[in-house]
Structures are given as C-alpha cells and as structure tokens.
Symmetry: C2
Subunit: 140 residues, 2 copies
C-alpha cells in the first residue's frame, strides 16, 4: 500500500500540497526542516503556504509516511519513511541519510533493560550516524 492509498483509505484527500511534499521528501536524502521544505517547493513554483507544510508533516507522521530524524547536533528534520519497521543512518558530514531494515533482534537487550530499570519495554527509537559513500571518498 503506497502513501496515496494509505491516506485515501483513511478518508484523507490526495492534494497538490501532499503530492509535492511527498515527491520532494522522496527525492531528498537529507532531512529537511519545515522551512526548508517550504522554500524548496516555492522555488519549484509551488504556491504552498508554510502552514500547510506543518499540517501535512503532522498528518504524514501520523501515518508513518515520513520520519523525523535527529541530527548529531540535536536538530530535527524530515525524510520519507520506509515501509514497515526500519531505521535511518545519517552522514555526519553531509547529513545524507539512508534507510536500513535489516533490523536487530532486541529481545535479549530488552530483558536486560527490564531487569535493570523495572520498566516494561515497548518500542524504540534508533538512529545511526556515520559516513555516506560519497563523504568516505572525500574524507579518506
């Protein structure tokens, strides 16, 4: 089920603004702030308002169609999300990101955490930082 089906099947409309945002975020590996999304789309001729960027980011987040990434400096940005459970890795140099879905088995770790903290563990937020292929060449 692609993003249009996901939204439509939940009673949401496939609007210009949403198509433009999804297209941009799918094409971009670097996490973009709401402002950056807005600027990029205006430059491409879109008449979208910044307010709609915020509104739609909220909606798209609700349906896991975009993901919020946290840069090493603590700044947040948005990228198109993968399907199903997945995580992202972010280049420390150029901020470019990639998705990985070869996901870990945390059952053992979770047991340790529950023993140590007395919390019941639910889900998690995991993000890696590293060097993208391009920046590996530049910064040998």
């Amino acid at each position: 089920m692609n993003w249009k089906e996901k939204l439509a099947s939940n009673g949401h409309r496939i609007t210009q603004a949403r198509e433009q945002m999804m297209r941009l975020l799918s094409q971009t590996q670097v996490p973009l702030s709401p402002m950056q999304i807005h600027s990029a789309l205006r430059e491409q001729g879109s008449k979208m308002g910044l307010v709609s960027v915020y509104r739609n980011l909220n909606l798209l987040m609700d349906y896991d169609l975009v993901c919020m990434l946290v840069a090493p400096d603590g700044n947040a940005g948005y990228v198109a999300g993968g399907t199903g459970h997945h995580h992202h890795i972010l280049c420390k140099v150029c901020q470019s990101s990639a998705i990985f879905d070869e996901c870990e088995d945390f059952s053992e770790l979770i047991s340790k955490i529950e023993a140590q903290t007395q919390f019941v563990v639910g889900d998690h937020f995991l993000q890696f930082y590293g060097l993208c292929p391009q920046c590996q060449e530049t910064y040998v």
Copy 2:
C-alpha cells in the same frame, strides 16, 4: 570525575546557575524543556535568566553532562546524563525516564547496515519507550 571537575578541568567556572541546573536535572526523572527548567528554578528562588538555561544546556551537552531525550511525540527534553556510554528509557505515560548501561553489542547489526547502505557506521542514538514501575500499577 564528577561534573564540576569535568567543567573546571576544561577552564569553565562552577557557577550558581550551573549548580542549580545540575541539581534540578539530577533530581528529576522527567525530561525538562529549557522553559520548564527555568520555571522550576525560579520557583525555587533562583534569579537565573532563561538565556542562561539555553547557554548552559549547550555547554553541559558538549561535555555529556546532560542528555537530550526525544519523547514519542517528538518533543525534546533534557535530563542529567549517566557516566560513559548509556541510553535512556522513557515512560509513555508519565514521561519518567531511567538510564540503562547494560549496553548492546551492535557489531553484527553494524555489519549488516554497512553492507546494506554502504555507509561507514559510527555511533548511534538509541532510546526505548515503555511503562515505568509506577504507571504499570496504574495501568494494569
């Protein structure tokens, strides 16, 4: 090496503001926003300005004396950090957090990520969400 030694040995001063902030954050399990830190300290009689909260959070983050946590809703807050490599778990209900240092061995996962994404993997940001002991009782 405690936080005072860490700062002092790097040429920073142990100020009222920093002592108040570290004391508050060490006593509190719930991640606090800059504004919340400021309000709490003012209520305790501190004359500290909000600006110093921001400035000192930056400094304390630089020396890993406080950690930024991301709530499930995307909001960020600060808590006192543990020593060495560690992570946090956050209660989905009351936001209370705990530290765990029984840390994972990610070497196998990292190999998979590097194979799949062609990135070179460095460090990571990992945070768990769950139910704290108190909220387990309330929400049986």
